[in-house]
């Protein structure tokens, strides 16, 4: 009898030891991540904190490091992200609503689902090439010798690129240019495609999380499907949807390759005045500085640029957290 009791106790001690070792391992795993982040922040602060000055925000890029700033890049990033959010919200949420609330569970829907999941993993540079072909050049159908131009005798520009410009319905503020070329519009549309799969997936999660009892209660009162969705489902899902979009945008703000491919510039000594204007964004500006030989650019200004980018990123995430808390439904 006493031998049995002794064995029992020893087992507990051993189990506890294994548990402690596991706890230590996962604490170390967390610390590794934290350590890397700390090193990064420390490093760029040392290199760049002194160089975060008002002129960083008020000046354009210049060959003289003392005069260089990233004004056009900051404004470009903000406009691109704003437009991307504007485009991806209705398209992404609309698609998510269709897939969750309307689509039948058949092979076609499964096919769409698989494709959206795959698209979320496609490298961003591919989206850059897609954006260039579809929005930037529009497959060349507005070139001077294309079938579209010759068939309809469109008044395209005289140079090799052609291009159609006109005022929609005669309003000068609805001035349109085809193709979209290297403009903010083309950049925003490219980024929209990039984040759309992620927006759809996270919106679907948010919609799916709405308890079905709410839908049943609504239908039982005689509400139509759309009334149920707009009055009950969407308001409950909105915090999750918004968080998803803001997080997708905060990833997109750091994307360099797709925008370089579709034609964002590196040197933009002016502020864009319309969505048809050329532009640059913060990661491209930072990348440009890193490639310059002078230490002031390569190390200090680049680090300062990274600090600004991280600050914008943090504020995006803070907005996401704030909105989520504010709009959350208390069950």
């Amino acid at each position: 009898m006493s031998t049995k009791t002794k064995d029992f106790k020893e087992n507990i001690a051993r189990r506890r030891k294994i548990g402690n070792i596991f706890l230590a391992l996962i604490i170390i795993a967390t610390l590794v991540g934290l350590l890397m982040l700390t090193i990064l922040i420390f490093d760029i602060t040392v290199k760049g904190a002194d160089w975060v000055s008002p002129q960083l925000f008020s000046n354009y890029h210049s060959r003289k490091p003392e005069k260089a700033g990233m004004k056009s890049a900051i404004v470009g990033s903000i406009i691109v992200m704003g437009l991307t959010g504007l485009f991806s919200f209705p398209i992404g949420v609309g698609a998510a609503l269709y897939l969750e609330e309307y689509a039948e569970k058949n092979a076609l829907t499964r096919f769409i689902n698989i494709n959206i999941n795959n698209l979320a993993g496609v490298p961003s540079i591919v989206y850059g090439m897609l954006g260039l072909a579809v929005f930037g050049r529009m497959f060349g159908i507005f070139g001077p010798n294309s079938w579209l131009v010759t068939t309809f005798n469109l008044p395209v520009g005289q140079n090799a690129l052609g291009g159609l410009e006109f005022d929609l319905f005669g309003f000068s503020f609805l001035h349109l240019k085809f193709p979209f070329g290297r403009s903010l519009l083309a950049g925003a549309l490219t980024m929209t495609l990039l984040i759309l799969p992620v927006v759809i997936i996270s919106s679907r999660e948010a919609i799916r999380a709405v308890p079905n009892s709410v839908r049943l209660g609504s239908y039982a009162l005689g509400a139509t499907k759309w009334q149920t969705i707009s009055n009950q489902v969407l308001p409950i899902a909105m915090p999750g949807i918004l968080t998803g979009i803001i997080l997708a945008l905060s990833r997109a703000i750091g994307e360099t390759a797709p925008l370089i491919i579709m034609g964002a510039f590196t040197y933009v000594p002016f502020l864009p005045e319309s969505i048809w204007d050329q532009f640059t964004v913060m990661p491209i500006q930072i990348y440009n500085w890193i490639t310059l030989p002078q230490e002031e650019f390569r190390i200090h200004l680049a680090a300062a640029g990274i600090i600004v980018l991280l600050a914008v990123l943090l504020s995006f995430n803070a907005v996401a957290v704030f909105l989520r808390k504010k709009l959350e439904i208390k069950w």
Partner: protein, 259 residues
């Protein structure tokens, strides 16, 4: 079931219900009397809730559902009606209270709003009337903008009843409305149902036989056959079903020998 001089509110003829290939209800023929409380009893899985949900076509929300036979509301085939119109006339209260995550006012005003009532004054009147009918007005009249979820379980269920009453239905379906509530809240709901019977036809599914015996006028007893399809065993006045049932199965169920 003989309805004496009561009129039929809902007539069911040769009703069969399938979930895909599985038959859940077989050949149900019955009349539900107007302005009476009809309870549906039977063992688990015998199709009581499925039968109840047929009256307001909520079963259609399940993709594989299909139906044979007829259900008529006041002589009109419910499958020839617009489901939105049907559900306005036939309301439902669920087993677990499910108030919307909105204010008490907005919970009740939702029904009238989706049916086109937008005037604030009219909505306020409807809200007050519904809350009074559901015996909840005194509890909540001081703060109608409090969240519906802040109420107790019994109050939430009365809120759901008020919500159903706000669209002025003719029939109220209740699927075990008190099973998630404590005994005192249950009694309040039962009293409320007795009051509502005057103006509405009530059909209530219940697992609780004592509740069926004391709270209803007519009872339908369903059972599950060997192939798991539900069928109507016996129907009649509650007092007769519980004191002198005609079928042996009924007698066995009532005395607790199965189910």
């Amino acid at each position: 079931m003989e309805l004496e001089n009561l009129s039929t509110k809902i007539g069911i003829r040769n009703y069969n219900f399938f979930y895909g290939d599985f038959q859940a209800l077989r050949d149900v023929n019955i009349d539900i009397p107007e302005n009476q409380i009809t309870s549906i009893i039977g063992p688990s899985g015998c199709g009581k809730s499925t039968f109840l949900r047929s009256f307001n076509r909520m079963n259609e929300l399940i993709p594989s559902a299909n139906v044979k036979g007829e259900i008529r509301l006041d002589e009109i085939n419910i499958y020839e009606m617009n489901p939105v119109e049907l559900r306005k006339r036939v309301g439902m209260v669920f087993q677990r209270p499910n108030p919307f995550p909105k204010s008490i006012f907005d919970n009740i005003a939702f029904g009238p709003r989706v049916h086109g009532i937008t005037t604030k004054q009219v909505l306020a009147e409807i809200v007050e009337k519904s809350l009074r009918q559901a015996a909840l007005w005194d509890d909540v009249k001081d703060d109608l903008h409090k969240s519906g979820l802040a109420l107790s379980g019994g109050q939430q269920q009365r809120l759901c009843i008020a919500r159903a009453l706000a669209v002025e239905p003719e029939v109220i379906l209740m699927d075990e409305p008190a099973s998630a509530l404590d005994p005192i809240a249950t009694l309040k709901i039962e009293d409320l149902i007795q009051e509502l019977k005057e103006k509405y036809t009530i059909v209530i599914v219940t697992h609780n036989m004592q509740q069926a015996a004391r709270a209803s006028d007519y009872t339908l007893f369903f059972n599950m056959a060997e192939d798991r399809a539900g069928y109507l065993v016996e129907s009649g006045k509650t007092i007769e079903i519980f004191t002198k049932p005609k079928e042996e199965l009924t007698e066995q169920y009532i005395s607790g020998r199965f189910g």
